[in-house]
Structures are given as C-alpha cells and as structure tokens.
Amino acid sequence: MMEQIAFYSMAGLAVVSALAVVTLRNTVHCALFLGLSLAGVAGIFGVLGADFLFASQILIYVGGIAVLMIFAVMLMGRASDLTLRQVNQEWLAALLVCAITAAGLLRGAKAYLGSVAAGAPAPSTKPLGRLMLGDYVLPFELISLVLTAALLGAIFFTRKETLPSGGGK
C-alpha cells in the first residue's frame, strides 16, 4: 500500500512537472519544474529500492543539472521572452506523433502487467561499487575521460575570445 502511494505520488509529481516543463511560457519556471520532475524521478528510484541511484539523481540532476539550467536561462534570458510564444507551429503534428508513440509504447508495457518484484530490494551501493571497479572498470574510466573532455569542451566553447569574429552569418 505504502509502495503504491509512494509510486503514484512520485509518478504524478514527475509527469505533471514534466508537462509543465514542456508547456510553460516562462523559461525560468520551466527550469524550476524540471528540477521538480527530476526529483520525482528520484522518488521513483527510491520506490524501486535503488538507493545509490536515488542519491546520485538528487546530487547530479536536481543539484547539478537543474541548477545549471536555471543559471543558463538567467544568463541569456530576455524580457521579451515572457511575452513570446514558447511553442512552435508544428506542435499539433508533434502532438499527433507523440500520441501515436505513447500508444505504441503503452501497448508494449501491457505485456509486463503480470510481472511483480521478487522479494525486498537489496541495497545496491556496495555491489555497484564492486561492479564499477571490477568488471566495468574500463567503461568507468572511459566515462571519466568523457567527462574530462566535456569539461574541456565547455571551457573551450565559453571562452570569449576563441570564436573568430567572422564565424557567424
């Protein structure tokens, strides 16, 4: 019972916030709702018993990415944005496509209606640690490399004097 309450509340939070993200006109609000939606997903992780994921979701997404978004929005926000429409002309077509996709995906999900969890979830931090530094050590290291590269790329792109003046047209 508790699980269901938790699931539905968290799922509702995530879905509603997500809808807000994609529909609201004010981008700052969007970013704030994104944080909320991500927190809802973190709750879902909690319901699933994935404790380490829960923690990292909070830390990385809610604490990192969402905040980064907010900063970015603030950096290049304009007053005119609030009055302008934030959705383009193809929204109807997009809606149609999305509806079809959703229908397809949900039909796929129906197959797992009878699948229930076996037993209580076990804490996963320790096995994850073993896995990362054991079998998956190579992807793990590669990920660190990717992160470094991303860091360097970010710095490179945001340096003011780097882009040549004639680059745009």
């Binding site: 383009n88 193809e90 997009a94 496509v97 999305c98 079809i100 229908a103 397809g104 796929g108």
Partner: protein
C-alpha cells in the same frame, strides 16, 4: 694392310688444313704449305698402296668399315625407334681410282702452287683452303654413307666458294664465288630431295644396304626415277651440266691452280662420281638413265660449241671441261660405267695439265687474253711442249690418253643410239678445233703484244715439273689402262655396279655394234681435219680469216658469246626472286603487320571505343542519373518542400520513424 687405314686419307689433309689455318703467322716464306704437301703425300701413299693391294688381289674389294656416328629417333616401319646413323668408308674400284687421282692431282697442284702463289699475302691461307678442299673431296670419295657424301659434297662446294673468291679484294671473284655456290646449291636441292626419298622408302643411307634394297626391288619404279632425277640434279650442279653450267666459266676468277684442281680435275668430277656411286638407282630406272644420257649429250654439245668463241684462255678450258663432263655423263647414261670413269680419270690428268700450263702462261704474261699472246713457244718451251701433249690428249689423237677413253664412250653411245653418236662425234671434232685454236693462238706465230710476250719467261722447276709429270701421265695412262682391259676389270672389281652396268650395256648392244677400228680411224681423221682448220684460221700472224668467218655467221657467234642465254635466264631468275623478296617485304610491313598487329590493335581500340561509348552513354549516365535523382529530384525538390534547415523538423521526421517502430513492434 693399308686398306684398313684408308679412313686416314681424308683426315690427314683435314688435320693439315687446321694446322695451317691456325698455326703460325702469315709470312711469305711460311713453312706451313709443306705441312699440307706432306699430308697430301702421305694420303697419296696410302691411296696408291690401296690400289696396289687391290690390283694384286691382296685386298678384297669392296672394302667396308664403319663406326657409329650418331643416333636419332626415327619412325621406321611406322614404329618409332632409335635409328643408328653409321658412317665409314666403302672402297670399291671406282673409289680407289678416284682416291689415287685426287691425291695425285692435289699433290701436284700444291707443289705447283708453291711457285704460282709465291708472294701472295694470303699464301698460308691458300694452302689451308686447298688442304680443306682435298679433305672434303676425299671424304666424298671414300664415304659409305650418303649423308656423309652429301656433307662432303657441300663442304667441297664451300671450299670451292672460298677458293674462287680467294682474291676477294677484287670485284669479280666474290661475285663468281657466290654464283658458283648458289648455282650448285640449286642442284643440291635435287640431291637433298633424293636423300629424303631414299630414307623414306629405303630406311638407310648405307650404300651397300641401299644397293641390296634396290636390287631386291623393294622400291617402286616411280620413286626410283625421282631419286635418280634428284641425284642427277645434284650431279648437274656440281659437274656443271646443262643448264647449271653457268657457274663454271665464272669460276675461273680463282687462282689458276685452283681451277686446275677443283674446276677441272676433281670437284667437277664429283657429280660424275656420284652418279657412278649410286649407279644402282639409275640402273633400276630406265627413264633416269635416259635423262642422264641426254643431259650429258646436250651439255657436251652446248659447251663444246661455246668453247669456240672466247679469247680468255681459261674460259676455253672451262667450257671444254663442261663439254668433257657431258661426255662422261652421257657415257654413264648409256650404260658405259667403265667408259665414263675411264674418261674421268684420263680427263683429270690432261685437263689438270692444260690448266696448269695455262696458269704457267698467265703467270708469265699476266693476262688471260689470248689476243695478247702468241709466239710463246720459243719463250716457254717446256710449257709449250707439255701443253701440246695435253691438247693432243684432249683432242683424242692416238696414242694419247683422251683417245682411248673417248673412243670407249663413243662405242658405247653408238650401241645405244646412232643419233646421239652423231652429235657426240661432231662434238669431239669441235673439241679438237677449239683445243688447237687455243694452242695456236697462244704459242704459234709471233707475239701480238710485244710488251707482254717479250717479257715472258719460262716458269721455274717447281711449276714445270708437275707439268711434266702430268704430261707423262696424259701420254701413257690411256694406253696403259686400256691395255688388257686393266681399268675395266679393276673398276669392275669394285662391286656389282660395274658388272651390272656392263651387262646392261651389252644387252643394249645386241642391236647394233660398231667396229672399233673403223670408229677410231674415223674419229681421228675428223679430229685431224678440224685441227688443220684451226691451223688455217688461227696459226698466222693475225686471224683475219677467222674474223671474216665470224662476220659471216654473226648471229651464231652472238648466240655463242651469250652462252645461249642461259646466264641471262638465271640472272632473270635471281632478279625475279629479288622482286618477289621485295614484294614479300612490302607485304610483311604493309599487309601482315598492318592486319595482324595494327589490325589487332585497331580491333582492340574499336572495342575500347565502343565500350567507352557504352560507358559514357549508359553506365556513366546511370551514375549521373542517380546523382541527378538524389540531388535535383529527391534533394532539391524534396528539400524545398520540407527541409528548411529546421532541426526540429528533422527531429519530427525522426520521431515519426520512432513512432512507427513503437506501433509496429
């Protein structure tokens, strides 16, 4: 037993020639000629010993000895197997006589040449060639294998080529040498084909075995006739029979001793000898026999008539040689085996004598032209004397050698056919005429060219002694050999060939015969009459009467001087061959090359053009078409509809795709 060593006879001069050619340097007083002379003397010794043994019955003739030469794969009797080619010596009476004659004349000529060629800058080489020639000739004589005979036959031709062209720095000798070689080679084609036929049908080249095969009648008559004609063809080339005699007068460009040895006494007799050696083929084919007789007859007459006109002393002798060879050939053709060989022997002596005498004269006056001579009898008595003997022998005056042998021939011919006999007798009379015309022009009267004649001197002993020896032989050989049919029985002992020939002759003789005494008297009288005629025409200071006669019969003289047009005919043949050759070259460059190389290339290029065209029209257009479709239709057209550079549009299409996946699963 000397006959066991008879194989040495050709090998000694061969070794000598190699020694002379490669040993020592070319010097005026080179000792090398003596090597050749020594080898020749040794060969002569062996030959004489063989003859002596055979004559006394110490050695049985025919004598055969052979060794394995080489073996080759052959289809004999339709079954491939290894055929052993054996080579060796076969001595019968004829071969023994020829050995003696060749060795003797060669020895004398070599000694004579010591004087004649003295001072020549190729002194040593000359003797090497002479020795080589003698070796080849002796090889031809002794060999029991027709292939070896043919090989020596050709080698004889080559040495003749080398010796005719000995003074190659001049213009004429190389040409004459080439002419001689090619003409005899033309005849050799027949010989060659005969050899092919012989092996194909008889499967051997051994003369003894061939004789057995032929006499057993294993060969079809047609083949025998062809073989006979082929051999005759070869013999006609080498022995200068009509129509292949054209080379012999030109061959006189060589040194005179060479003319004496090769073109009078020995090599030209090789053709006669070949016919004699292969007589069994001819006996088996009447057509071949008849052809031989007629070829000889025609040659004898044509050459005899042509000898009437030249003023070159050596040419007269050359035509006379051809004529005499015709006599021998004719004799063989009518079955006079011994008569032909007898004449061959005596002719070798007196013709060598005449040539060497002529050489002596030429040596003294430095010209061949008899119009510049005359009155030499006083200046060169020994030469004159010996040459007179030679002339008498050639004219057939008793008791000189020519009389006996010619008499025998005429006898045989009369038995065969009176028409041929008449022609031959007339030719014999002509012989007497031109012989003495030459003698009178050279030695009688006064010197017409005082500058030359007054400085003429008798040659040295090294030249005159051989002349005397030959003169003695010319004087006695006929009588001595005729005496008691010595020659006939000796040559006959050489094998069944002689007997068979005599038998054939006697069979023919059943119809008509002639009293030998009547014949001898008649022919001698005729000869004497023509000698007198020659005297009246040519013995005086000038020969105005001869000139008048000539103007009277101008066309005849022209014809004779042009040698009946044979030269022109063969030159035309050569010219024709040249034209064909040029045509061939043109065809090769312009047609064959164009068609098969350039044409091939053209074909490839046309194919290439076509495939290029196809490529450009279809393949490339297809590629371009793909590009066009994707760029202009799919690209530009589609893009102008939906692609406006909007990322979200693209994403929409992507999402459509995703949705399709989602619903279709």
């Amino acid at each position: 037993m000397m006959i066991e060593n008879v194989w040495l006879v050709p090998l000694l001069p061969l070794a000598a020639s190699l020694v002379i050619l490669f040993g020592g340097r070319e010097r005026e007083d080179s000792p090398m000629p003596f090597v050749g002379i020594a080898a020749m003397a040794a060969s002569l010794y062996i030959s004489l010993a063989v003859i002596f043994d055979a004559a006394t019955g110490a050695a049985a003739l025919p004598f055969e000895k052979e060794w394995l030469w080489y073996s080759f794969a052959a289809n004999l009797g339709g079954q491939p197997s290894i055929f052993e080619m054996r080579a060796g010596v076969l001595i019968d009476g004829a071969a023994a006589v020829m050995l003696g004659v060749v060795c003797l004349v060669s020895l004398l000529v070599q000694i004579y040449s010591l004087g004649y060629m003295h001072g020549d800058r190729k002194f040593k080489r000359y003797f090497a060639y002479i020795s080589f020639f003698t070796a080849s000739m002796l090889g031809l004589v002794v060999s029991n294998n027709l292939i070896v005979v043919f090989a020596c036959w050709e080698l004889v031709g080559v040495s003749s080529y080398l010796l005719i062209g000995f003074w190659f720095e001049k213009e004429a000798p190389p040409y004459a040498a080439k002419k001689a070689f090619i003409t005899t080679k033309l005849g050799d084609l027949g010989f060659f084909l005969a050899l092919l036929l012989i092996f194909t049908y008889a499967g051997s080249y051994n003369l003894v075995r061939l004789k057995e095969t032929v006499e057993m009648g294993y060969l079809p008559p047609m083949v025998l006739t062809l073989i006979g004609l082929g051999l005759l063809c070869g013999a006609a080339g080498k022995s200068a029979q009509a129509p292949l005699f054209i080379w012999l007068p030109d061959a006189m460009e060589g040194p005179t001793p060479v003319s004496a040895l090769i073109h009078a006494a020995t090599m030209v007799a090789a053709g006669i000898y070949l016919v004699a050696r292969c007589y069994f083929f001819f006996l088996a084919s009447p057509i071949a026999m008849e052809t031989v007789a007629w070829a000889g007859l025609i040659t004898a007459f044509l050459a005899g008539s042509m000898a009437l006109v030249p003023y070159d002393i050596k040419r007269v002798l050359a035509f006379s040689t051809v004529s005499q060879l015709g006599f021998m050939m004719c004799a063989l053709g009518v079955g006079g085996y011994t008569a032909g060989l007898f004449h061959l022997t005596t002719h070798a002596f007196f013709k060598a004598l005449l040539f060497l005498g002529a050489g002596s004269v030429i040596h003294a006056v430095h010209t061949n032209d008899m119009r510049s001579m005359g009155g030499l009898s006083k200046r060169m008595p020994w030469t004159f004397l010996t040459m007179t003997v030679g002339c008498l022998a050639l004219a057939g005056i008793p008791p000189f050698a020519g009389f006996f042998s010619k008499d025998q021939i005429l006898e045989k011919v009369f038995e065969h056919s009176p028409v041929m006999f008449a022609v031959l007798v007339f030719t014999a009379c002509l012989t007497a005429f031109y012989t003495f015309r030459m003698l009178f022009l050279t030695f009688w009267g006064d010197g017409r060219d005082h500058h030359r004649v007054d400085h003429a001197e008798e040659s040295g002993a090294v030249m005159t002694v051989p002349l005397m020896i030959l003169a003695a032989l010319s004087l006695v050989s006929g009588w001595a050999l005729e005496h008691g049919h010595a020659f006939a029985s000796f040559v006959g002992s050489g094998g069944a060939a002689g007997h068979a020939a005599e038998a054939a002759g006697h069979a023919a003789a059943a119809g008509h015969a002639i009293n030998p005494m009547v014949l001898a008297a008649g022919v001698t009288a005729g000869a004497c009459f023509f000698i007198a005629l020659a005297y009246s025409l040519y013995a005086g200071r000038d020969f105005s009467r001869a000139q008048r006669l000539k103007s009277l019969f101008q066309p005849v003289f022209d014809l004779l001087e042009k040698r009946y047009g044979f030269d022109a005919f063969f030159l035309g043949l050569v010219d024709l061959a040249d034209r064909i050759a040029v045509l061939c070259r043109w065809v090769d460059i312009e047609v064959i090359d164009k068609v098969f190389v350039d044409g091939w290339g053209l074909l490839c290029r046309v194919a290439a053009e076509i495939s290029h065209l196809f490529d450009a029209l279809f393949v490339d257009q297809a590629v371009d078409g793909c590009g066009y479709v994707s760029r202009d239709i799919a690209g530009r057209g589609l893009r102008s509809l939906i692609a406006r550079g909007q990322v979200q549009e693209y994403m929409l299409y992507l999402a459509v795709g995703v949705s399709l996946f989602a619903i279709l699963k």
